[in-house]
């Protein structure tokens, strides 16, 4: 039972907004000790996993490219395009991105988009620019909200697209786990059953994006009538 103490530490630490790195090490120490490992073994296990997970952090290499492009006006150009596009609304832009993200992930192209690759340099500035066109100048809270929508839309598209691809990690994991129990599954059977949930994700998130558009339009009307009254 005490091995669950790490989970409690994580939840408390995140809730109290302590430094997550410290919280994670504390949780690892508590769980490891409760699970009968000595300190040396815990440090070694953590270090081994940290080393094996280095591939997660290589995405940061892209930052010089993004920095270079942003210094030459990438975000400003992305905004310009949106303001020139007729009928472009925040919700429609995000919905279009959601569909593209789901489709590309479904054919295995999970790394062609992402928070560093596409959301910060392209999607978020475009969504912000169209939100400004819809609702007028964005206050900081609304600007943050539009950015949150951009990141959230990328995640939803990725998660509920990638499992349709045959060779993605989670499909191979499921196949491997079930083989241990003597149940042989074909990757194709697993990937085809990811389709109903992918459609549901498109509908649910798409519906929320439509509501976002309506809210932005209402804000814009309120701002306009406020101006004319004044």
């Amino acid at each position: 039972m005490w091995v669950l103490s790490g989970i409690v530490i994580i939840i408390l630490g995140f809730a109290l907004r302590l430094n997550p790195m410290v919280v994670i090490l504390a949780a690892a120490a508590a769980t490891g000790l409760a699970g009968g490992l000595d300190l040396h073994a815990i440090i070694a296990a953590f270090g081994k996993a940290f080393n094996e997970a280095r591939y997660v952090s290589i995405i940061w290499m892209i930052l010089p490219v993004i920095g270079l492009l942003e210094a030459h006006g990438l975000q400003e150009r992305a905004r310009e395009i949106i303001t020139r596009l007729k009928g472009a609304t925040t919700g429609r832009i995000l919905l279009g991105y959601l569909v593209l993200r789901q489709l590309s992930a479904a054919i295995g192209l999970t790394s062609i988009a992402g928070h560093a690759q596409t959301v910060r340099p392209l999607l978020a500035p475009m969504a912000e620019a169209s939100a400004e066109a819809q609702a007028g100048a964005l206050n900081p809270a609304l600007r943050d909200e539009i950015r949150e929508w951009s990141a959230a839309t990328d995640n939803v598209g990725l998660f509920f697209g990638e499992d349709i691809f045959l060779a993605i990690g989670s499909i191979l994991l499921m196949k491997g786990v079930m083989e241990q129990y003597g149940i042989m599954l074909e990757p194709f059977e697993l990937s085809v059953w990811a389709i109903p949930s992918a459609v549901a994700a498109l509908l649910v998130h798409g519906w929320r994006l439509r509501r976002l558009d309506r809210r932005l339009a209402a804000l814009g009307r309120a701002a306009a009538s406020g101006n004319s009254a004044a």
Binding site: A45, V65, G67, H72, R147, A151
Partner: protein, 310 residues
């Protein structure tokens, strides 16, 4: 043959450059901590396979001490040096699309040419190649000095700060959890509370358990073996004769709904908050909850309706 080691060497080069850039900021009182943090990360990329498991563990502890004591300086995310006049839109978008395009084409090409690159890592290698290519083309087309790319890259990474290695830290925590047997304990708890006669209760325990355990571990991959052993296999597949493929596939997606609702999935939920400069670290998570909860319910319903047809 190009292997992942080459990519790590390249990433190490970037972190080392950021470390040196930090050292040069003589007016920054935290420059030693900043330089040490990114320098250690460069060391991890370059020599991680040579310093042993315990050595890597000590490296993580050192990184945590620097971050935990506030010695890692963050640059003010102030007005960046925007070049005027702006570069032509077509040119700038073409460069921006080089990385995704190379990842796309290169991923396929490298998989087709196993002699050229390590096949399993083709996507990551293609991503690194795309970055290099975009950088080279970008510097050329925009007529920029390499210094600008490095300075801007350092500034952006500095703004991300220690959040840059949270995903790696959380993955490592998951490994310790697994070693200590957290999964078995959680599985035992769940088995203890659900009645074994109700199909609906079993489906809910499996779907909600996948989501909850994913939220705790930050990763549906860690939750799947546990929930399959605790509920999926003994109840849904063995007792109720459910279709294993459907139970696996949609159960995993119930877990993905959980991924949308947890700060533990740092690379999806915390990293964008930092990258986009959000004031609320959990802003992305809160935005996703109203999408995730209906999807979780739908996934449970799909398992219930689809997996147990006679």
């Amino acid at each position: 043959m190009i292997t992942l080691q080459w990519v790590y060497a390249l990433a190490g080069l970037f972190f080392a450059a950021v470390s040196l850039a930090g050292l040069r900021q003589r007016d920054n009182p935290r420059r030693w901590g900043t330089a040490a943090f990114w320098g250690l990360l460069a060391l991890s990329m370059w020599a991680g396979d040579r310093i042993g498991d315990f050595g890597n563990g000590l490296l993580v502890i050192a990184l945590t001490l620097i971050a935990g004591t506030g010695q890692l300086g963050r640059p003010a995310d102030g007005p960046r040096a925007l070049t005027r006049p702006l570069a032509p839109a077509l040119r700038i978008f073409a460069i921006a699309l080089i990385v995704p395009a190379t990842a796309l084409v290169g991923g396929f090409a490298l998989k087709a040419a196993p002699a050229l690159a390590e096949g399993k890592q083709a996507t990551l290698i293609a991503l690194a190649l795309g970055t290099l290519l975009a950088l080279a083309v970008g510097l050329q087309w925009l007529g920029a000095r390499p210094r600008i790319a490095l300075d801007e890259g350092s500034r952006l990474l500095g703004a991300v700060g220690w959040a840059a290695i949270l995903p790696q830290m959380l993955a490592s925590l998951g490994a310790v959890f697994a070693l200590a047997g957290v999964g078995q304990v959680v599985g035992g708890l769940i088995r203890g509370v659900i009645p074994s006669t109700s199909l609906l209760a079993a489906v809910l325990a499996y779907g909600l358990g996948m989501a909850l355990f994913t939220m705790v571990m930050g990763n549906a991959f860690a939750a799947f073996p546990v929930m399959m052993a605790a509920v999926g296999l003994p109840l849904l597949i063995t007792d109720f004769h459910g279709d294993p493929a459907i139970i696996c596939a949609i159960g995993m997606l119930a877990g993905f709904s959980g991924t949308l609702m947890t700060p533990m999935a740092a690379n999806f939920n915390l990293v964008p908050a930092v990258l986009l400069g959000l004031r609320d670290r959990n802003g992305v998570v809160w935005r996703q909850v109203p999408t995730a909860l209906p999807l979780l319910a739908i996934n449970c319903a799909l398992i219930y309706l689809l997996a147990f047809r006679p």
